[in-house]
Symmetry: C2
Subunit: 300 residues, 2 copies
């Protein structure tokens, strides 16, 4: 994050110091160790993964006008949209510089592909927002691209850096992909069900932006005429009043939408765990299995 | 630019179809040919250069709230800021994917470094905006980073792809760097002196944003007390009235600031031309020398 332009480490440091779960870089580190890697390259590559993630957070918060991130004021709230966009660009470029220093074209291929897929997913999400016709398949396409691809890439490069057979990298990628989908499903449930102080971001953001996350997709599919009118007004037309979020939560609960989305997350979690079957039992494998449980049971 | 998400090629295509001078990719093509390169790799790399440039344009127009680009409504005006930020990210990632396909770590190093320097330069520009204390050295630092680095990188990779001795790549980089500085100096003069229909972007944008470009830097250095008050109100406090742009142009003219900035551009142009001394005369060399004249004499 170093730069002679002081605002860059300052702004990037604000996001990084705020914490976050550091899940993605941890996946790179753990995947490399699961494959028996004993060098130090995975440290730099885990940094690349977190830089790419941080860059997308900075741009997301601008795109979504988010006020809170990791329990602190978001960078765009503190410094405005302009530096947030540009420091995102900087971190993104720095990630590629670090990959070049590492010198693996295979890693560069994996992470450049993941980056363009993330951007595609974010655009797709914009297009499905406020569109009640969005179904479960379209929703899954969005979260696979915007979230799960980077989880998958983070895991895969851990295998690649260890120089192990392709089957192991494939298994790690599959683990990361299913874990990432489960993670985002839970994220989307938490946006309606978490306690704000625990979550570290604003509750109800998805609702206020009219995002078609799975809970809403399920509730809309089961809505009667009155409920449909509610969703049309709040999600499609974004005409919201203060008590609408409570009403939305009540409808999601009445239709079991939050429980069912969580069940879907659990199924993807099981798929993630199964993907690691080809690895023998080890402390690091048990940690990666615990990560699955954490992602599903987390309250933040 | 292809993507299953139709908005991506649509928005990117809008920017590309609007034209532009295509100077940067042309520099890669011409530099490769000047070095005797006869393959096809320079085509893909020139595309990477233009993608990186287009990504920065999309983000710049969001950051600057620009309404016009290349004579058409800017992408942020047509589709809003969100898709502009995200399609910028997409093009940027695609550029790196294309470089990975090309397979040269040296090219990846040059363009990833140029990209992070551009972002640094853009942040630096934000920080010097509205700051009357900005001097000529700080201004040159900004334009070197935000503009000239990509010109230099575009030229250098032309030499790298040809596999010629380092001295030739160095000479091409020096040509690109000086040309880029000259180009941006002229750009900053045109923002006060061009005819809007010819320029293809809004006249007076820099003034309205309070950017400290060289003409203003020079005029501020020569200002009397009344003039200083004018610059403080318009550039520092951004309290502008309708006739202030005319008044600014009058002051720049009175202090020869536009002529002098143009003279500085000419000097950098001569430096660019001299950098090519190590190459024997050839049609392609003559074209690269003509490019210098074009960049200085252009009206758009």
């Amino acid at each position: 994050m170093q730069s002679p332009v002081a605002l860059i480490p300052q702004l990037a440091g604000h996001v990084v110091a705020a914490g976050g779960k550091r899940l993605r870089p941890m996946l790179t580190l753990a995947a490399a160790r699961l494959c028996g890697y004993e060098g130090r390259r995975h440290l730099g590559l885990a940094t690349c993964v977190e830089f790419i993630h941080t860059a997308t957070l900075l741009h997301d918060d601008v795109v979504d006008d988010s006020a809170l991130r990791r329990g602190l004021a978001s960078a765009n709230t503190v410094w405005g949209n302009k530096p947030s966009v540009l420091v995102g660009d900087f971190l993104f470029s720095r990630a590629f510089e670090l990959m070049v220093e590492d010198g693996s074209l295979e890693v560069l291929a994996i992470l450049s592909r993941a980056s363009s897929t993330i951007a595609e997913g974010e655009v797709r999400q914009l297009l499905t927002s406020n569109d009640l016709a969005t179904g479960e398949a379209a929703y899954l396409d969005v979260i696979r691209a915007k979230t799960a691809e980077l989880f998958a890439a983070a895991c895969r490069i851990g295998g690649v850096v260890a120089g192990r057979p392709r089957a192991e990298s494939d298994a790690l990628e599959e683990y990361g992909m299913s874990l990432g989908i489960a993670f985002q499903l839970v994220d989307d449930v938490l946006d309606y069900s978490a306690r704000q102080a625990t979550l570290g971001k604003t509750i109800g953001d998805d609702f206020r932006e009219g995002k078609m996350t799975l809970p809403v997709v399920l509730a809309v599919a089961r809505a009667d005429a009155t409920e449909r009118a509610f969703w049309r007004r709040t999600i499609e037309d974004l005409e919201q009043e203060e008590r609408d979020l409570d009403e939305a939560v009540a409808l999601l609960t009445a239709h079991d939408a939050l429980t069912e989305a969580t069940d879907r997350a659990k199924a993807f979690g099981q798929q993630a765990a199964r993907a690691l079957d080809c690895f023998p039992d080890s402390p690091i494998k048990r940690i990666l299995l615990e990560v699955v449980d954490f992602c599903i049971e987390r309250a933040f």
